[in-house]
């Protein structure tokens, strides 16, 4: 763990990733203190200062009803991160458990579970999420549900493949011989050997979940106004390009920074943890 962190900080690219992710996380956590206009995250109108190009004190400019873009981006980060964490917190345990069970038990279990997984994987992810959101009310909770539904099968695939390999390892046979229960073998013997791969994928996915959630709200199917969301901010501003460029460029850059940061860390983790195995 310490070693992993040391390698992460030694490589300039992954160091950049750590810096970017720290920035995003800190600004989300301390938005209340950093944001110059915390009240602008809600339905506030200030027609005196509307649609202003970046200038002090509005460093990222203001939107069409005069709200500070910088403050709104900070709060949008908070929503994005909560969404990412919640989606992964639900999708990963489900996906991993199904993958482990299908991979270890094999036979009918494998057939039933993996075909179910294939059904989910066969629908393009954004289309699946969109159809779920189309049926349900477009709220934050339903957005999480939609993204979760499209996310768990990837973990099932990943863990299933690792489990198929680990199952043939001597230590699994040794555990069987010694009389370990199936649950013990699945969760205490095989699962720990999947953890590096799972962590790596989770880090990479943090960025993608944020991206997908932004895409959903860009299409008007995600978080609803007045709650600030990076995707809907880009969508709202796109109509006023190129004149009011700050309406799209800054939220777009914010998405880029978050996704890029998580990806840099994920790539580095893949190299580090992959090399250990």
């Amino acid at each position: 763990m310490k070693r992993t962190l040391a390698i992460l900080l030694a490589n300039p690219l992954s160091l950049l990733g750590v810096v970017l992710v720290s920035l995003v996380v800190l600004s989300a956590l301390f938005a209340d203190f950093i944001a110059p206009f915390p009240e602008h995250r809600g339905a506030v109108v200030d027609f005196v200062n509307f649609n202003k190009a970046p200038e002090w004190p509005y460093i990222f400019g203001t939107d069409l009803v005069g709200r500070d873009m910088f403050s709104r981006i900070l709060y949008a980060y908070r929503i994005s991160l909560i969404l990412g964490v919640v989606v992964l917190a639900i999708a990963v345990p489900i996906g991993v458990t199904i993958g482990l069970v299908a991979g270890y038990l094999g036979g009918r279990w494998e057939y039933a579970l993996m075909r179910l997984t294939d059904v989910f994987l066969s629908v393009p992810p954004l289309v699946l999420a969109m159809s779920i959101m189309g049926v349900l009310q477009p709220t934050l909770a339903n957005g999480m549900l939609a993204v979760t539904a499209m996310w768990w099968p990837w973990y099932t695939r990943l863990v299933y493949n690792i489990t198929r390999g680990e199952k043939e390892e001597g230590y699994v046979l040794a555990a069987e011989v010694i009389g370990a229960s199936r649950a013990h073998i699945i969760f205490r013997e095989i699962l720990p050997n999947c953890v590096p791969a799972i962590i790596t994928k989770m880090t990479l996915d943090m960025g993608f979940v944020i991206l997908i959630a932004s895409s959903l709200s860009f299409l008007g199917l995600g978080v609803q106004p007045p709650t600030p969301d990076l995707g809907s901010m880009v969508a709202d501003g796109a109509k006023y390009l190129p004149d009011s460029w700050w309406l799209t460029i800054f939220p777009g850059l914010a998405i880029l920074v978050a996704v890029f940061g998580f990806n840099l860390i994920g790539d580095a983790l893949r190299d580090i943890l992959g090399a250990e195995q």
């Binding site: 001597g170 230590y171 040794a174 011989v177 010694i178 009389g179 370990a180 050997n193």
Partner: protein, 292 residues
């Protein structure tokens, strides 16, 4: 004489596959008495390892496997036990060690924690400290001096020989009545193998553990076993006390097997028929002394 620890009678095994039914074992019989070291010798694919799996009750759970015949463990017919009862035997009354010690240990746990898991099979309430203490004393029996370092290490931090000793110690930790050794140490180099076999022999003698030793290495078998069964294509072709079989091999296959052992003095390996009709000759039995 008390009941044999393991008594296999006319055991047949077949697998049902897409291409039909394939019989792998054609009725083998063997017995292992308490404290006895019995070797099952044969080439790859002769049916040695599946025999071990059946004894452990692992193949019975496979739907494609058809098993006939009788396997008795300490007088109990394994067929009469349900899955739970067979499960209870594993790890406590019988245990097993494998070819490759390093891959038989889970790479992500420390040796000490794996010992704890093993000891919990027999005593579910054993504390970690008690388990580590017990582990250290068993490790001392296989001449591991710095037990503290070993128990704190991960398997990949230890040498193959050390892992092999750890495996042996783990297998014997719960004082099983029967130990099945499936080509132990084949993955190790010869000197380490000899050393660990020596330790294992001492340990099973001290604990009076019966051993079913599966191997293709005649030199190792001669050193280790009291009784020897030669298996060829799912049939026992020769059986008897080790000395008798080595001094006067009677079955053509046994003779061919012994002729095929590479010698230090050179001279090449004789050509052996892959499938000589002689090898189908009936079972040769050397009488055991003091029995029957």
């Amino acid at each position: 004489m008390s009941a044999p620890t393991l008594d296999i009678e006319n055991l047949k095994l077949g697998f049902k596959g897409y291409t039909g039914y394939t019989e792998v074992l054609h009725g083998i019989s063997l017995s292992v008495n308490p404290g006895e070291r019995v070797a099952l010798v044969g080439e790859s694919g002769s049916g040695k390892s599946v025999t071990a799996r059946i004894v452990l009750g692992l193949l019975q759970e496979l739907r494609a496997a058809r098993i006939e015949g009788r396997v008795r463990f300490e007088g109990q017919d394994l067929d009469s036990l349900n899955r739970r009862e067979r499960h209870a035997l594993r790890g406590k009354a019988m245990s097993m060690i494998f070819q490759d010690p390093t891959s038989s240990l889970n790479p992500v746990f420390r040796i000490g924690d794996q010992f704890h898991d093993v000891l919990r099979r027999a005593d579910p309430r054993i504390t970690r400290d008690a388990a580590l203490g017990r582990a250290a004393s068993i490790l001392a029996e296989v001449s591991v001096r710095d037990a503290v370092r070993v128990l704190n290490a991960f398997p990949f931090q230890l040498s193959g020989g050390l892992n092999q000793r750890v495996m042996i110690a783990m297998a014997l930790a719960n004082e099983p009545a029967l130990l099945i050794a499936d080509e132990p140490g084949t993955a190790l180099d010869v000197t380490v193998q000899a050393q660990t076999l020596h330790l294992m022999r001492k340990l099973v003698e001290d604990h009076h553990t019966a051993v079913l030793f599966i191997s293709h290495n005649l030199g190792v078998v001669r050193e280790f076993a009291d009784q020897i069964y030669v298996i060829y294509k799912g049939r026992i072709v020769e059986q008897g006390p080790t000395e008798a079989v080595f001094d006067g091999p009677r079955h053509p296959y046994t003779r061919a097997l012994m002729a095929a052992v590479p010698r230090l003095t050179g001279g090449g390996i004789p050509d052996i028929d892959e499938n000589s009709p002689d090898f189908g000759a009936p079972l040769e039995t050397h009488e055991r002394e003091g029995r029957q």
